[in-house]
């Protein structure tokens, strides 16, 4: 299906509009990332190339000091992979919903699906272990929305880097909008406990390099959820 036909699809539009609620926070984050890339000395051309092709904000930010210090390529790639390890876990969730697509299409779509996409997707489709009609189009709508907002704001940050005062702490706008979405996901006891465990682990393991504290936090939350599933009542778990 071409993008032109897709844009009239109900699920696609729904996916895009659900995502646009996060537009302001996402844009603030994209802007800050754009500024950070240029100010690290990457240059306008390479900053644009990075934004458009790498398209993973946390890995981009983690790579900047390494690039600036002339670290070997493989070190930069390995650290990008470490920062991106959570996407490996996410892709097993996407497989449930996108597995029916032709391989090339699901790989292209998968490449475009960031953290926010899965979180918003899970809110819209609460039955997480079944595939339902329209899910791929919904995901594609969200992917196009995030891509557009991120690239436009990141490009603005790259081109206007000298005009955007980082001392204003604009990046905190991104954090605040993440806070809103985290609250909206706290729908049951399992989610609450996972969030509390994750926050504690992320803070405790903060000293780890390469943002590996995020992976530790995910592992701790998943482990807590396994324990809860074993001890909790089945009815509650099913929710």
């Amino acid at each position: 299906m071409h993008l032109h036909d897709l844009s009239r699809d109900r699920h696609f539009r729904h996916g895009a509009s659900d995502m646009l609620a996060f537009g302001p926070g996402l844009a603030a984050w994209g802007l800050v990332t754009g500024v950070a890339m240029t100010q690290s000395g990457l240059g306008v051309g390479l900053s644009i190339l990075m934004s458009v092709t790498v398209y993973a904000g946390s890995a981009q930010l983690a790579s900047l000091p390494l690039l600036a210090s002339g670290a070997p390529m493989w070190v930069i790639w390995a650290s990008a992979f470490c920062v991106n390890l959570r996407f490996v876990i996410f892709s097993s969730q996407w497989r449930v919903h996108l597995g029916h697509l032709p391989r090339r299409r699901r790989l292209v779509l998968g490449y475009l699906l960031a953290d926010l996409n899965l979180v918003v997707f899970q809110k819209a489709w609460p039955k997480r272990d079944v595939h339902e009609t329209g899910q791929a189009r919904y995901a594609a709508g969200g992917a196009v929305a995030v891509w557009t907002v991120w690239q436009v704001s990141s490009l603005a940050g790259i081109l206007l880097s000298s005009l955007v005062p980082l001392s204003w702490g604009l990046g905190f706008a991104g954090t605040l909008s993440m806070l809103g979405i985290a609250y909206s996901l706290l729908t049951d006891r399992t989610a609450w406990i996972a969030a509390i465990v994750s926050a504690a682990a992320a803070v405790a393991a903060f000293a780890l390099p390469l943002k590996l504290n995020i992976l530790v936090a995910i592992a701790a939350a998943v482990a807590a959820s396994v324990v809860m599933a074993k001890t909790g009542r089945p009815a509650e778990r099913a929710s």
Binding site: L67, F81, S177, A191, V203
Partner: protein
């Protein structure tokens, strides 16, 4: 080998190759379980437990941004992020959403941060 490439290539080309490699890493990690032609399914209990992973990731990114500064827990009240996060939380409790809590948080954060330097 990378050292030789670095020596032979102009800086922008070396940077461009590094960046394109990173793009490949994004594609590999996001497509990891989408690659196989067979239907890959993790064991059901694990798959179910992994459903908390996205929430955990969002919280893991957000919590240190609110609670920590320079790698340590914030130890002072003169820090704009704490009242801002409280304002966003209170707004969410009143009216759930994304934009409302964001604006409420910024309304507290900006004056304290820019005005008072907290």
């Amino acid at each position: 080998m990378t050292a030789q490439v670095a020596w032979a290539l102009p800086g922008w080309a070396y940077g461009a190759i590094t960046i394109l490699g990173m793009a490949l890493v994004t594609a590999l990690s996001r497509g990891f379980f989408l690659w196989s032609k067979r239907d890959v399914r993790l064991p059901d209990p694990l798959q179910r437990a992994l459903q908390v992973a996205p929430l955990a990731a969002i919280v893991a990114v957000t919590a240190p941004e609110i609670l920590m500064t320079h790698g340590e827990l914030i130890g002072t009240w003169r820090e704009a992020r704490l009242p801002a996060a409280l304002a966003a939380t209170a707004f969410y409790a009143w009216r759930p959403g994304v934009l409302g809590p964001l604006l409420a948080g910024l309304a507290v954060y900006m004056p304290l941060h820019i005005g008072l330097g907290w």
